[in-house]
Symmetry: C2
Subunit: 493 residues, 2 copies
């Protein structure tokens, strides 16, 4: 019991403030990296970015200073962890929306916040109706919010979520070298740093490769930032639709990498190919991508007059874009035959690998769900036998299986509740289905009037706030946020 009981000083306010302050400060510093682009392209937004950066850096500094002054214990308790993660993302997004508020014509707080949380959560749903008319400095900030969000996700996945006991995240962590799922250890810092280098390295390599395909440096770095974060913000109005096949294939490869557990990407750098290929989750990940692409490619080739190559490329691109929850658009999948559109919609509930920057349910959870369902049938015939679910050749503790099932149920409950609330706001059924699925899964494009060639600008303000909350909920693996709304979280035990 000792690890969560905190009688006096219920929350470690000093430490929470200090960490939040540092997060805000770092975001402010990132804002200044947009200035070179703003000056180079002469978009006139340099002052907006400077103002936003100064306010953010100063606020972050003050909050950090307040935390230092107040004093704190160095040890992070579980409850503090939930607060830091949920509040951190929420508050960061308020500061992150300043560049939009200071630069866009007629910005509303709702729209600016929606765009920012869509960035930090790596969702990529946008209220911008004409992306290419926005200043290059601001657009770089937009891409950067996703890249920062992706960095946050990596540290969450390797260090924070397993420590907070979020379903299934313990599983892949046990795979990562030098990580104990039970305690927040100093060695985890090393692991997080190593994975950040992988993340930054892949972003650099992708930028260069995109430039070899003829993309200019600005567009290349923006797309690299949002690919690796599985964010999906593009600097083009039509996303990936007008890109050359070569560039589309590069995006496909890097989306796949971004949806892969970053520990496996580290193995890739280390040329430990066997460790990648024997990973059970990776095999399913590859298997789903291949089979869904073949099925959709066949349907598209058969039902349209596109070439075979273009049909299968579009299919592969969209399958990868949706399963990794990136959300780039090379083709309007809602215009495909219903069966192909349906597969894409189902894939919205799939998600990439745990430990990647992808959102959604994650493949490992589906594996456990399916295995447990089959085993449940077996248990029915042999009620006294104890048959554990096995993953990566190891038996999984029943508590984890339980947690994974509860996670998936919570995901679907929130999905159902979400579409109920959206329809209460007068949004039609198809759009509700699409908007909620894509926000909760941090994907980006949906179906209905928020399809791949639409945007979210026309939704009522209340809907935008709800979707913003769903993006946060999805990105933080639900339970991290939900637990804060329970009475026992606020009780002293």
């Amino acid at each position: 019991m000792a690890d969560y009981v905190q009688r006096k000083n219920h929350f470690n306010i000093g430490l929470i403030a200090r960490i939040m302050g540092i997060l805000i400060l770092l975001n402010g510093i990132f804002m200044f990296t947009c200035l070179p682009f703003s000056f180079y392209f002469g978009d006139g937004d340099w002052w907006a970015l400077t103002e936003a950066g100064l306010i953010t850096v100063l606020s972050g500094g003050l909050i950090m200073f307040y935390g230092e002054r107040k004093g704190y214990k160095k040890e992070i308790k579980k409850k503090d962890g939930y607060i830091i993660v949920s509040l951190g993302w929420t508050v960061m997004a308020f500061f992150g929306s300043l560049p939009y508020l200071f630069s866009l014509e007629n910005p509303s707080l709702t729209n600016a916040y929606f765009e920012t949380i869509s960035g930090y959560s790596t969702t990529g749903a946008s209220i911008l109706t004409d992306i290419e008319s926005v200043g290059k400095g601001i657009l770089f900030w937009r891409s950067l919010t996703q890249w920062i969000g992706g960095m946050g996700i990596i540290v969450l996945a390797v260090a924070v979520l397993p420590f907070l006991g979020i379903g299934g995240m313990q599983l892949f962590v046990a795979e990562a070298p030098g990580i104990s799922p039970d305690k927040l250890q100093p060695r985890i810092k090393e692991t997080a740093k190593r994975l950040w280098w992988v993340y930054a390295g892949l972003t650099g390599i992708e930028t260069i490769l995109l430039m070899t395909g003829g993309m200019n440096f600005y567009d290349a770095i923006n797309h690299a930032l949002t690919t690796m974060a599985t964010g999906g913000f593009s600097t083009y109005n039509d996303s990936a639709a007008s890109m050359s096949p070569y560039i589309q294939y590069i995006l496909i490869v890097f989306m796949i990498l971004a949806g892969t557990n970053f520990t496996l990407n580290y193995f890739l750098f280390k040329r430990m190919f066997k460790a990648i290929w024997t990973n059970e989750e990776f095999r399913y990940y590859a298997g789903i991508i291949i089979s869904a692409s073949l099925a959709i490619g066949g349907v598209v080739a058969f039902s349209s007059d596109l070439t075979i190559e273009k049909s299968f490329r579009d299919a592969l691109f969209q399958v990868v874009s949706i399963i990794t929850t990136t959300g780039y658009v090379s083709a309007d999948y809602t215009a495909w035959a219903p069966f192909a559109t349906m597969i894409i919609f189902v894939l919205m509930f799939c998600g990439g690998m745990a430990g990647s920057t992808a959102g959604g349910v994650k493949i490992v959870r589906h594996i456990i769900l399916f295995k447990n369902s089959f085993i449940e049938l077996k248990r029915q015939l042999h009620p006294t036998a104890i048959i554990p679910v096995r993953f990566n050749k190891k038996a999984i503790k029943e508590g984890i299986t339980f947690n994974v099932l509860a996670f998936i149920m919570a995901y679907l409950l929130i999905f159902g509740l979400g579409i109920l609330v959206m329809s209460a706001l007068g949004v039609d059924l198809m759009t509700s289905l699409g908007a909620v699925a894509t926000s909760l899964g941090n994907i980006g494009p949906g179906i209905g009037t928020v399809g791949p060639v639409d945007n979210f600008a026309h939704l009522p303000d209340a809907a935008k706030w709800i979707l913003s909350f769903l993006m946060l909920l999805g990105r933080l693996e639900l339970f991290t946020v939900m637990i804060i709304f329970t009475p026992y979280f606020w009780s002293r035990f």
Copy 2:
């Protein structure tokens, strides 16, 4: 282990044949009860019914005789149970479709089988485009298939499913007097008989009450048969839409009773009101009906020019019709404001109480799902504490909670797979959603082109067979059927 291991004589073929024979025989006898109506109304179908009845009685007798000749052990093993239940329903539906095949113009086996399995499964989805043009004898058979199906469900719920270990059914059975959930006992026969009397008694009372509202005897008994079975076949083309408010209120009351655990209905006859009101599942059942009706009634009253009474009556009628999975239609809910339609769609996944004739997921499972989700959040903070789910003030064994979660997941997986297959057959997304949800939940009307004022005639044949299978799957609580498709069911252990 002793209760399921059968080394030699893997299945008890003799006993299976005997029980199947009896079931078919009884169905044949029921067919003859349609003759008086056929003669009275002079619909010209008496020979079709007689032919069908004779074939069915003779076939049943032969199969029974084969079973007797082959010899059998009296003891029913679990695996035999799954076979009897699944095969019984499937084969009964083939014989039950004979009256349609012999009487309808241009009957196809697909359509006849669809209509019959829709009857026995108490779904009520229909391929008939003009119900009132069908002979009265045949229509009575149509209603009777639902009533027979309802009888089957009651015995399944109190005796068979708990014995087969189907998720959550053990829970309500523990509530039924004189029932042990562990063994198939002789006393269960008594309980089943008692509940059948309640079922038949309520059918009789409803017939009389409907006649006091001005309905003729024929229509009254047909509607009583299909109300108590939560079947929903009507003898009118427009279902309940043109009925008087008085008659609609009678239907509402009896639909609610039909969706109530029949043990509670037995308590009602015994005037044990406290035992009803303290039942946790009943309270939620009542609570959902009231709150959903108020919400929808408000929306309809506000967004249409109907009177307040009519708005709330329509809302109450459709909420009760959908939650009890009866499927009568008093108003086209797909024409309501999106929010109201959405609530109806969500209710399709709710279902009535366990131990009633209602289909769907059942309320008890939702209660356990929700409670477990909340407790899971608690477990996250207190990972070492053991916190069981409580239902009706008792702690529930973890195995049952597990089974309930697996059931709900299987339900949703089959739902997802169902819409995928439907769209592969070229059915549009809305219709797929509606048809699969309504078939799996044994409800009747859906959304899209199988909405409350449409029928299923226009669907492709393959879709009809798939929906027929889904009706069976839903009616038999999924696992009963699914287990037969697993390899270990056919292994010797």
